[in-house]
Structures are given as C-alpha cells and as structure tokens.
Amino acid sequence: MRRYEMMVILDPSLDERTVQPSLDQFLAVVRNDGGSVEKVDVWGRRRLSYDIEKKSEGIYAVVDLTAEPATVKELDRQLNLNEGILRTKVIRPELH
C-alpha cells in the first residue's frame, strides 16, 4: 500500500455539485481493492494557464488516497477514458 495524491481537471461545463458524486463513483475502484480514500478536495472552477481541448477553464479536484500501485493505475486509466475529464496527475508526495 502506498500513499498517492491525484489531481484531476474536469470539464467546466459540468455542474460543480455533481463533481463530488461522480468522483466517488470512480473512487469505488480504490475502496473495492482494499485501499482507502483519505480526502477529496474540490477546488472548484479555475482559469487554466493555457487552453486544454479548447477550454479555458477547468474544475480542479485533489484526492488523497492509499492503495496498491496496480489499483491506482487502473483508476487513472478509467479516468482518462472519461470524456468529462481533461487531465489527471498522480503523485507520490513522500518521494520528494
């Protein structure tokens, strides 16, 4: 088990209130594989420094979780398949 921090940029056309439940749906993968989600922090709408997929804004969310490496890889894969997600980044904070 390792600690991870995952940042997700979601499509700005989504409703901010639906972000939390839809993220929870994705994070079910972590819980089913014996991992745990410590914190889901939705930053809300924020201007992007440059356009991503022709969009100048994004909804940011940061998730702290503990899981097996394979689980996180699967989570990342599933997030990237989703149209409503512009970008993801997984980081292991203790490595730095």
């Binding site: 940042m7 940029i9 420094s49 440059y50 991503i52 970008r87 980044k89 980081i91 730095h96």
Partner: protein, 78 residues
Amino acid sequence: MAKPAVRKPKKKVCLFCHDKISYVDYKDTALLRKFISDRGKIRARRVTGNCTQHQRDVATAIKNAREMALLPYTSTAR
C-alpha cells in the same frame, strides 16, 4: 586612475533551507510564481539564490504545475 567599484553582492540564502520547507508543493502556485519570470521561464539559481537541491525541487514542481495548467509554459506579456 579610479579603481573600478568592487560590488560585493549580498549572499542570498536559500528560501527553503531558511524556512525549513522540505517538500516543494506543485499546488502552491503563489510560492512558485516567485521563481518564474514574467515570461514564464524558470529563474536561474544565481537569481533565486536557492541551494542545489531546492532549486531542483522547485524546477520539478514548476514543471508539474505546468502540466496541470496551474502555471504557464510561456506567456507573451509584451
């Protein structure tokens, strides 16, 4: 003959060593903005005065922040 004025630059201390910050967070854009120029380029160590290790950490943090569109790759100010 006038001697060329010898300027003794003040020795800068690494901000992170001084504040005892061990982890440079890529999410802290307010802090990272101090280390980029108005063009968006990473400032050199001789400008920032950071130590080797922390300059490296700052550079990686900035690059991570750029990937997540928190900081610009380039900004065409002027």
